[in-house]
Symmetry: C2
Subunit: 199 residues, 2 copies
């Protein structure tokens, strides 16, 4: 069986990662979504093992100590991270594993797993990103401005990704990501068996 | 205007490069086929500037001296090569330029132009490649065996390509190449404008 591909989807806050990933999961039938672990409290409506693995701070720090996380970060005082064992299990079963994570986490993954495919989602323009952040209606203006500042910095990091796609419409950007995932099957460094079989 | 991409299609003799490239040109409307230069004599039915640019040995050696060729090689006592100026002109006009060249020429191009997309076409198996070479009916058995020996060596070089596609059917392999060409538009190193525009 051919091993699956590790697909990392990232991009600035407000760019629409969540919506795009949802659509991608609907349209890519050999994909599994990687559920992150976190130490933050579970919120009403959330399900353990679906939205996140909700674990204690002690357990999380144990995972760090065991080097069992693909990436991790602290956000508003809580840990977030990707347990590696589960990801490997699904890759070995032939599934493409989709990680939806923050920009710095994505670059951590690439260092650890050079075979990971990093896709950066960007907005058509900064004006549009600002419009989307304000359009949520639940974010104070100073927070919007702080997020835009972060987004500028994150876009500088995009050059270290493998691919950059513009989120103009959910349908178009999902199509682009599906094209990238399909093409990645033919990358020479994933095709050793083809050459070996020919030998 | 966005610059076109330099697409290099290569693979062992008998794998069906010519047929695949013909189908690719038919289905990719922003592509231009790169016509090679050669010092061999024009054959009945061939057209100068269509099949090849038929030029003198003196002129060819002048092009080499001027460093005006993307790649070149000697085959059965004649020079073959790709004039770079024409390729650059078409890339600047926004066309993807398709080169159908031998395996070593392809690797020469990659050294000179790291942005080139190298695609290696391979047969489903060596048995199938042998069957195709013999099926032509115009090749003596000792030449078939020599070509298969070369093919084994060329397949070892495939790992230095960007992509490897299996030619099971012309339609399927053309579809794979079109997918690769589409995905290449989103490679981060081709997307500097997207990031700059966002700045």
């Amino acid at each position: 069986m051919k091993t699956g591909k590790l697909i990392v989807i990232s991009g600035p806050s407000g760019v629409g990662k969540g919506t795009v990933v949802k659509e991608l999961m609907r349209r890519h039938d050999k994909a599994r979504f990687s559920v992150s672990a976190t130490t933050r409290e579970i919120r009403p409506g959330e399900v353990d093992g679906v939205n996140y693995y909700f674990i204690s701070r002690e357990r999380f720090e144990q995972l760090i100590a065991e080097d069992a996380l693909l990436e991790h970060a602290v956000y508003v005082g809580n840990y977030y991270g990707t347990p590696e064992a589960k990801v490997n299990e699904q890759l070995a079963a032939g599934y493409d594993v989709i990680l939806e994570i923050e920009v710095q986490g994505a670059l951590q993954v690439k260092k650890r797993r050079p075979d990971a495919v990093l896709i950066f989602i960007t907005a058509p323009s900064f004006e549009e990103l600002a419009r989307r952040l304000r359009g949520r209606g639940d974010t104070a203006e100073d927070k919007v401005l702080a997020r835009l500042e972060t987004a500028r910095w994150e876009c500088q990091l995009a050059k270290d990704y493998d691919y950059i796609v513009v989120n103009d419409t959910v349908d178009a950007v999902t199509e682009r990501i599906l094209t990238i995932i399909a093409a990645e099957d033919y990358r020479a460094d994933r095709c050793e068996e083809v050459i070996k079989e020919a030998d």
